[in-house]
């Protein structure tokens, strides 16, 4: 049955017989079946392609990706890169991809945090807390995501107008135009500080690695945190100071019928983010709970018997074993979140599906439009699963 090279039966396999041209020979049957099935599939595909070509000719629809260089003329509300309706379709699609990534990356981070908290809450000894978490998980998982998104969007649209905006904190306004937050005026000094922080992260990682190797040699544990503080906090602060210590906050304020200044989170993005985060968190909570429950109780007891502190037990004994159970299903949840972000089209957030859909309606080039959507999602999906597989291999149990 198995085709693996280590199968002992292969070593004892009888010498290969000559291929007989007879239906009784298993290999002949296999070849005939494969030729038949591949032939049928190729035939169907060829038939579909022929039909498509004919239909495109009859309807005078141009083919090819030439339209990407034409002027798009479609307005986009939120952009991460510079964009005007006079830009090309290619740029419009790039904006769409970035908008998809914007909601997917933030959603993944928030859903992981919220999901982990709820998963741990479900295991809490406090009856009330664990029951509330259980009800949350059950309710959120049994209602379609699209319905939840429409629900959140309706609620956000039902908020008061900017003039009567809710003002829970100084500088934070919640109205039917979205969420307004104070923002930092970005200056050169901040860029320097950010660069220093990234360099500091790298330096900390390197330092920890060297220290660990030294510990492996002489068994003496070494402190990493003083160096980490230096690299991660002091170094960026120094660069920020050298850059002139810029610190101007842009506060939003009501002018006329809308807000001026500050940072805006549009109702569409906000609804999509809330919906995706709360929905995926329900699934992640179950994964985290199952992962923690999968670590046998004896592991906790053995670690305590060795005299390890509770924090060390969790960090060094339980978590590495739980992660092995958690990571593979978590990967598929991240992929689901990314694919579910395509539901943005239903509430008017302009992600790649929404923009490609408008593009194919304007140009009539349906095949190219859908091919672009599929290519983008396949690329994102494959990247996430490659990264998570790499991470999974790193933490996987090494046996013999």
């Amino acid at each position: 049955m198995s085709q693996t090279a280590t199968d002992p039966r292969r070593l004892r396999a009888p010498p290969k017989k000559r291929l007989r041209l007879s239906w009784a020979d298993e290999r002949v049957r296999a070849i005939v079946w494969q030729v038949l099935i591949v032939g049928a599939v190729v035939g169907i595909v060829w038939w579909l392609v022929r039909n498509t070509q004919y239909n495109l000719e009859v309807r005078r629809i141009a083919t090819g990706f030439g339209f990407l260089q034409r002027e798009a003329g479609l307005p986009i509300g939120e952009t991460l890169i510079e964009y005007t309706p006079a830009s090309t379709y290619l740029r419009a699609l790039a904006v769409g991809v970035l908008n998809t990534l914007k909601v997917a990356v933030v959603g993944i981070v928030l859903a992981t945090i919220l999901g982990t908290l709820i998963g741990i809450a479900r295991l809490s000894k406090n009856w009330l807390l664990s029951k509330i978490a259980a009800v949350y998980v059950e309710v959120i998982r049994d209602i379609p995501l699209l319905l939840q998104l429409l629900f959140w969007y309706t609620i956000l649209q039902g908020l008061p107008a900017p003039r009567q905006a809710l003002n829970p904190m100084d500088g934070v306004f919640l109205s039917n135009r979205g969420l307004k937050l104070p923002s930092l005026n970005w200056e050169v000094g901040h860029s320097w500080a950010l660069l220093a922080f990234v360099a500091g992260c790298f330096a900390t990682w390197l330092y920890a690695k060297v220290m660990r190797r030294k510990q492996m040699q002489d068994g003496q544990p070494r402190r990493v945190w003083p160096a980490a503080i230096g690299f991660l906090i002091v170094l960026p602060a120094v660069f920020w100071g050298l850059g002139g210590a810029p610190w101007t906050i842009d506060w939003p304020s009501l002018r006329g019928f809308n807000f001026q200044g500050g940072m805006t989170i549009s109702p569409e993005y906000f609804a999509l983010l809330i919906g995706l985060t709360t929905y995926t968190a329900g699934f992640i909570a179950e994964i985290v709970r199952a992962g923690i429950l999968a670590v046998p109780h004896g592991q906790w007891e053995a670690a305590q018997a060795l005299g390890l502190k509770p924090g060390v037990v969790l960090r060094q004994i339980v978590l590495p074993q739980a992660l092995r159970v958690i990571v593979p299903p978590m990967t598929s949840q991240y992929l689901n979140l990314t694919k579910n972000s395509s539901l943005a089209v239903a509430i008017g957030y302009q992600d790649i599906v929404s923009i490609a859909n408008t593009t194919l309606n304007q140009t009539g080039q349906a095949i190219e439009g859908i091919a672009i959507i599929m290519a983008v999602y396949l690329t994102i999906s494959l990247s996430i699963s490659l990264f998570m597989n790499w991470y999974n291999n790193r933490i996987a149990l090494v046996e013999r």
């Binding site: 085709q3 009856w127 009330l128 049994d142 429409l150 694919k339 539901l343």
Partner: protein, 380 residues
């Protein structure tokens, strides 16, 4: 032992001082102490959560029941709007009272609504019967076939004195149930074939199956639905036209097939190798081996994840909203387009959620019970 009188000290051992009775270990007070107030932190968490919960519950009950308006005379929604803007807002359930027939059955002719209603009942009883283990026999297939034909007759009509209703006028809950049920009925056999193909020793077939599964799983359902709605007409020869619902149904089947195939493959892999070898040793052919030995065991192993996939898939049928097919969610969204009823989305979405929740919650509970039952032999 019982004839030894109590309170007699053994000679030489001084009598122990009378001890305090042990702290309560049973009863409601003990339960509260153990589960809600076991430490300072726990007490604080309980009190804070309890406070928030009670506050939320009071405001929810106020909104949903005490202040709510249950019906209004002929589309006069001023009272509802006034209530919504007031300091003490309440729900306007009048929108459900007024529109529930539309949300459930869409634009199906009003006087014929008993037909889609009966269809929903038939579908639901079909699910219930299929879920009972004592009916897991091949006769169940006949029941399915008969029920599905009956459903078709009821929906279309045109025979037995029922008036004909074109498919464009169908809508609401029956569409959701049709998409989900027919989707499953066709996707499941497809999934079994693909899962077997993915583990086949013939390279060409294996590659085809892997390509199909990975392609479908790598893209969102929406892109497949778009493909069904805009690209399918281009694929077919001129003059051949398939209606929109059927195209969406095909997309849903292809989508579900890929996901179910992975679940079935999990079962095939989890089966001990000895089962395959024993079947081979008996001299069974591939299809005998698969049909009599492998599949009955492999499918039994994966029933709980299969039901979970069904749940996800039932929820995903709501995505047809995006290509404009009139399912339950679309009907709900359309119900509040009328100017008189605009702005009552929250009420409608809550009502539609309740319907989805009932179906999904029942399936999820069923899957949990079944898992416990099937694993009974593993429990000690």
């Amino acid at each position: 032992m019982s004839d030894i009188p109590l309170n007699t000290s053994v000679s030489g051992v001084p009598e122990a001082a009378p001890r305090q009775p042990p702290a309560l270990s049973t009863g409601p007070v003990a339960w509260l102490r153990a589960n809600l107030f076991s430490s300072w932190l726990n007490t604080a968490v309980t009190l804070a959560l309890g406070y928030l919960l009670v506050r939320w519950a009071i405001s929810f009950v106020d909104w949903a029941f005490i202040n709510a308006i249950w019906s209004v005379p002929d589309n006069q929604t001023q009272a509802c709007r006034a209530l919504k803007a007031s300091a003490n807002p309440g729900a306007c359930w009048a929108v459900i009272t007024e529109k529930h027939r539309f949300i459930l059955f869409g634009t199906y002719p009003y006087e014929e609504h008993w037909r889609p209603a009966l269809v929903c009942v038939l579908f639901t009883s079909l699910y219930v019967v299929s879920a009972m283990r004592r009916f897991w026999r091949w006769e169940l297939l006949i029941v399915w076939a008969v029920t599905l034909v009956t459903i078709g007759v009821l929906m279309w009509g045109g025979v037995f004195g029922l008036s004909y209703v074109p498919q464009e006028r169908w809508g609401g809950l029956p569409i959701t149930l049709i998409l989900a049920t027919f989707g499953l009925a066709f996707a499941f056999p497809l999934a079994i074939l693909v899962a077997l193909g993915r583990r086949s020793s013939m390279p060409a077939i294996r590659i085809l199956c892997i390509a199909y599964v990975e392609l479908i799983r790598g893209v969102p359902l929406i892109s497949l639905l778009f493909m069904a709605s805009v690209m399918f007409p281009l694929f077919l020869p001129e003059g051949v036209n398939i209606d929109k619902l059927l195209r969406a149904q095909v997309a849903v089947i292809l989508f579900a097939g890929a996901y179910l195939a992975e679940v079935v493959r999990g079962g095939l892999q989890a089966l001990p190798k000895g089962q395959y070898e024993a079947a081979d040793a008996l001299g069974l052919s591939y299809w005998q081996k698969t049909g009599f030995i492998i599949l009955p065991q492999a499918l039994r192993l994966v029933i709980p994840p299969l039901v979970n996939t069904f749940i996800g898939f039932f929820k995903d049928t709501s995505l047809v909203l995006i290509i404009g097919i009139f399912d339950l969610l679309t009907a709900g969204k359309t119900a509040i387009v009328e100017p008189a009823w605009q702005g009552f989305g929250v009420e409608v979405y809550i009502a539609v959620s309740v319907i989805y929740f009932i179906y999904c919650f029942a399936m999820s509970r069923y899957s949990q019970n079944l898992e416990a039952e099937l694993n009974r032999h593993r429990r000690r």
